[in-house]
Symmetry: C2
Subunit: 259 residues, 2 copies
């Protein structure tokens, strides 16, 4: 596993850190997370965790490794809809069972724990676990925000902007579970996978990385990303701080619309 792997203690740490990023947990709630962390399940890399329509969606939370939610097109192309990081729910939707053409696959060796008690506490607004219940709702909401980000990246950003924006998103999300060290973090993705996330060809992913490297904006070595000039990257990516509002005063009016 990646450097985040240090057994069940590490799994517990991921859970606590992720939830604490949104709410403060009671002793009781912390205890529940500890219990969940005691029964991790292993998933081999590159294998599907779930294919929509084949079974009820799994209520599991990732505690180590990366996964992705993707769709295959009739022409054989793949589009990755979202990346799943430690602390994320494997299947982010509330337990409505509906067919859909999405699947979830492990991108690395993966470990998950049951999130059933968490999801149930959330839909029932369980008063015994108010923090967990709320946090799960916030996470579902956040997942939708990430989809919006993904749509904006694919629809309206330049190659470098797309890449930069994704790296900033990953740093943001990984920092919530304590997997960012300064301006560096581990990113176990091949350029092939990045292409399917960003809607590029592999070659163009490579070109884009070279460009960003040449400009001294970031460095990628040995599966570790270093954001050398985070501020310039934010500028390039049109990054908006996760808390909402625009990053700064918006330039008057471009070739664009409204005003």
């Amino acid at each position: 596993m990646s450097d985040s792997y240090d057994g069940q203690a590490g799994h517990f740490r991921v859970l606590v850190e992720h939830f604490s990023a949104f709410v403060s947990l009671s002793i009781l709630e912390t205890k529940l997370l500890a219990e969940l962390a005691e029964a991790p399940r292993y998933h081999p890399p590159y294998r599907d965790l779930y294919v929509a329509g084949t079974a009820p969606p799994p209520s599991r939370m990732i505690v180590a490794g990366w996964a992705c939610q993707y769709r295959l097109l009739p022409d054989g192309h793949r589009q990755i809809v979202s990346l799943k990081l430690p602390g994320d729910l494997v299947w982010p939707l509330l337990p409505v069972r509906l067919p859909s053409s999405c699947a979830v696959a492990a991108l690395t060796e993966l470990e998950t724990v049951s999130a059933l008690p968490l999801v149930e506490a959330s839909v029932a607004a369980d008063p015994a676990h108010p923090g967990l219940a709320h946090a799960v709702r916030v996470m579902a909401h956040l997942h939708d925000m990430l989809l919006y980000d993904q749509i904006v990246r694919l629809g309206r950003q330049t190659a470098c902007g797309r890449f930069a924006h994704l790296m900033l998103e990953l740093r943001e999300r990984l920092s919530r579970v304590g997997l960012v060290d300064g301006d560096s973090f581990a990113m176990p993705l091949t350029q092939d996978v990045l292409a399917d996330v960003l809607g590029f060809s592999v070659v163009h992913v490579n070109r884009t990385v070279q460009q960003l490297r040449r400009d001294g904006l970031l460095e990628i070595r040995n599966g570790t990303v270093t954001l050398s000039k985070p501020d310039d990257l934010q500028e390039l990516a049109g990054w908006m701080p996760p808390s909402g509002g625009p990053a700064g005063p918006r330039p008057p009016k471009r070739p664009g619309r409204k005003d």
Copy 2:
């Protein structure tokens, strides 16, 4: 208003048809919808209905007209994240109040009714309105599916494929509320708006429409779309029937973007 406008009776019809597409309604539930339809609110075209962070998100359902959920970029570009049609919730997320950089704007003259009782019934799993409660959850789920579709369109489809896919999605959604007549439906969108949905420039939208027209696949006149060859469009768009599974046997794996 568009041809869908025939007053409160029409609003009631839209609500009933949309819900009936997912569940069967009890008398009590039908009555609730009728009450809601009695108090429509009017929104002028091109005006924002909601800007994230400014207030709690509105629990309203569209009964006539079209709207869109969009984001503005620092460079002035706009990306429309999703289109909102009659029967859709203006703000599709469960009532977790979180800042986000999305806004919702009317694209035409618009009428909405309160959806607060519906959303509340859904989160509380109100036993008095089981159908409504479930249908709202399904709609939220469907909204996520639409986001996945949008991501796949933007990430992996050709210009014509994107356009065709969007038209098929619109037909699908409009048919649930009885706004499709054979292979035609009203689409009150300028090419400018379509560009912001599809991630194109206006000029390229036009080129794409011309192409599809030349190929005899569809026709657009007076704000009315006619899908002349629905089957060919589905082929072109890599369309998967809304119920899930792939449209047909997947060719092994084509390296090419298309033939």
